[in-house]
Amino acid sequence: MIRLEKRRSISKLWTTLTPIIAVFLTMIFGGLMFGLLLGDLASAFGAIKLIFWDPLFDENFASYARPQLLVKAGPIILIAIGLSIGFKAGIWNIGAEGQYILGAIFGASVALSLFPRESIFIFPTMILAGAFGGFIWALIPAVLKVYFKTNEILVSLMLVYVAENILTSVSHGLLRNPDGMGVAGIRNLKDYPSAHNSEIITNSGMHWGVLTAFLSVILAYFLFLKHQKGYEIKITGEAPKAAYFAGINPSKTIIFCMGMSGLLAGMAGLFEVAGPAGQITISFNSGYGFTAIIVAFLGRLNPLGILMAGLLMALTYIGGEIAQLMLGLPGASIQLLQGMLLFFLLATDIFTNYSFKTRGS
């Protein structure tokens, strides 16, 4: 008989191992799913190779796909780092998607209001405005939680739908491009040099947002390794009563964590609208805010882990697009593949919290 025994402390080895196992399980079962969808199990391996390998190493795809990797990974990592700060404290901001949208709207509004003036101060001001937009949007569930004990998961999630409606509204009305012949969407910022988040190195996909994402990884690493705030966040998540005894103010921690994650998500939105997207349209957001939740967990809330997980997730986006194009796979099957990653990670987590013991009955 096999029996589970709860570990007294979680296994460090399994904490590192389970994300890797989860990736492999996703490849196996994702491949099976693709094989069934294509009606030919033998094509399973090809589909998986197309998603996980070809974007980086196949010469037909690599020149397009490699820069795209950074373009996709940048916002995901930036948002996931922010979310991980809150998740460590047991504060669950599920609404990064909404904060991402608001960041884009705030930042783009600054650019649009200054158009067509040129100045080197415009882009930095846009970044601040974008960060502020995300920050304010995340502060709503934070303040409601502090003062009225509302559940931040529900409030932040519902605010995503509010944000999406604001997005639709401004693309049709307030911020619509006056020269756009009535098409919904704002003026394309790629045509506005002072506001454009251009590539730092041409054809690398490396724009200011990607750089900020890398910077956030380093700062988050430092925060949890050396800084009192990081310690406070950690202990609040591990043992709230002990944190309170240690003199840590839970309200401040909630405001800080929600605010920081909103701030980074808002910046990610701004970098996206000023760079790869160029404009706000009704379909501006593409689910980075939700994908980042998976990335944060897949990376074990560890900054370096999030960096790796973010790159992997970006790969499934790009590889997924290629697979859709080449094999005619439905887009939903790619989302299913991404969902599988989280599913298998949570399933294999049993190894980190429990050890298996055998005994004769």
Binding site: Y231, G247, N249
Partner: protein, 504 residues
Amino acid sequence: MAEVLLQLNGISKSFPGVKANENISFEINSGEIHALLGENGAGKSTLVKMIYGLMQPDLGNMRLSSESFRPSEPSKARQSGIAMVFQHFSLFDALNVAENIALGMENPPKINDLSEKIENVSKSYGLPLDPKRLVGQLSAGERQRVEIIRCLLQNPKLLIMDEPTSVLTPNEVKTLFETLLRLKKEGKSILYISHKLEEIREICDFATILRNGEKVGSCIPKNTSAKQIGEMMVGKSFSSPSRENRVFGEKLLKVSNLSIHTKDFFGTSLSNINFSVHVGEILGIGGVAGNGQDELLSALSGEEKTSPSTINILNHPIGKLAPNERRNLGLRAAPEERLGHAAAPSMTLIENTLMTSHSEDIVNKWGIINFDNVKEETKDIVSEFDVRTPTLDNAAASLSGGNLQKFVIGREILKKPRVFVVNQPTWGVDAAAAAFIRQSILNLASHDSAVVVISQDLDELFEICDTFAVLTNGRLSKSYDMRNLSSEDVGLLMGGSDLDLKNS
């Protein structure tokens, strides 16, 4: 010669890395109150769990009334006539007594019939209990009665009681003992688990003593001194804490008209609490847990804030100050719950040292933590308070209760607090660690500090305190000089009456 009810032969049980029981043999006669004695971790719980069918022995066998007995689960043990009252009650606060008892039965009768039965049993054994009362409103002693009656309804041959007096007032203990003697007279056997030597000498006919999972001796408690039994339990003689003759200095901590309304539904509100503690004084606050102890500690530690002037240090009002501001003024506290309150279970000892340490050499003005210095502090705590741990990076949860308690108390005492408040300093701690902790509290007081010890262990309070007050139902009695009090006086105080003694 009484007949043998339960016989244990060479019982052994091991868990990964530990031998919990090693070759234990003894017999319990019918109509006998048999004590099972030992420190925490001696293997008492494992042994009774095997008798009660919660675990099965690896080796050895048991015989009940001369028949082979190996219960595979508790219900089998109950069918054979074995009942057990656990140390921690398994009762639902929101249900009434009869409903709670019905829940634990395999085929519960109608609730009215059951209520009648409960009343009959409670009357015949002198355990007054109203079956219609909500359990959430009962005192610890009454809750225990619910558990005992639940057992008696099964008409058991052997009743196992795990540390039954740890939550009782002296008067409740007296009632319990009367009930136990009545059961004995009826020919029922009782296996009485405890580490309190005096009560075992009072009520038990025979004692089996365990240490490190082995049987190290047996005796007739009435004919053996508490000191001898204690030495068998611990395996060595250890000195009891010594007190220097202390002189009280100025009034350091003053609490006046402290009232707190608890937010916890089953918590206890504090009403109008007044006391003061002087330099060099140890004030003991007795009373059964759940009477406002946790609330009092959090009011003093700063986790719960009050109006400024209700709590004063040297006439400096601190009622509104946060925990760290109070630490800066020299007030430190150690809560009862080690894991989750006084320490974060999954974090390392180094990180746990940081919990209550935030001076400038630890955290600079930019918020950067100097982990080298934290590590030094942790090293000091571990060496000076004899905390047994493989490394400083071990998680708090991996330490034994006694070691973690030494760590939690050492962490505060090494900061030389002017006022130290501690709740249940030696709860669930082995005798050697308890003696060590008590000694360090005494040492602290003789170094110009005022100490408040909240404890439900009256022996402990008699041992180390100068003055004494009782917390009952959120109200604190006057403080009395400990030397003038007898345990009967304490019992009266716990019952809520004032004594006609000279105030200290």
